[in-house]
Amino acid sequence: MILCRVIGNAISTVKHPVFEQYAVMVCQPVDPQGEPMGRSFLSVDSVQAGVGDLVLCAREGNTARQILAKPPMAEVPHHSVILAIVDEVELRGQATLSGPGE
């Protein structure tokens, strides 16, 4: 799982039908201090996260499929999903990050 900050979203009209019920967010991986780390990527939102939220993302197809595949669509082309909204990150007894953006 990757700690990320949601910094935007992507809107599409022409898409695979399974994407119709979910928002796709732009996620920037961050380290436990909140510093950006690497390039941003897209993630399907399963927990109603908003822009500015600190979230946990899984970038792996089977995890995404377990959460998002619903009958009759068992095979879905999702590869990345937002799993949780982070309230706080604590490192060596000290809170380093809180949920909402500045």
Partner: protein, 93 residues
């Protein structure tokens, strides 16, 4: 899943039978600010995207799942044509 810009097309005469009828596009992955992220790759396209379009793409087993034949030997696939995207680095604090 990631953003990419379609920069070209790829045509193959000889191919594995289940790849028949699958459009192949050359895409350049990029991040929310338009910065290229890695080298261009060839992606299967079931959505009729064209050069100049911004698309959303997936890698791995899921790439074939967007195609009419989900068992086609494909590891990069386009899943959406993006109309608009944005990312604001001010949210990083």
């Amino acid at each position: 899943m990631q953003l990419a810009k379609v920069i070209g097309t790829c045509v193959c005469e000889q191919k594995y039978p289940t790849l028949e009828g699958v459009r192949l596009l050359v895409i350049q992955p990029h991040d929310h600010s338009g910065q290229p992220d890695g080298p261009p790759v060839i992606a299967a396209d079931p959505l009729q995207a064209g050069p100049g379009d911004t698309v959303e793409w997936v890698t791995g087993r899921e790439a074939a799942m967007g195609l009419p034949n989900p068992f086609a030997p494909v590891d990069v696939g386009i899943v959406a044509i993006v109309d608009h995207y944005w990312g604001d680095e001010r949210y990083l604090g």
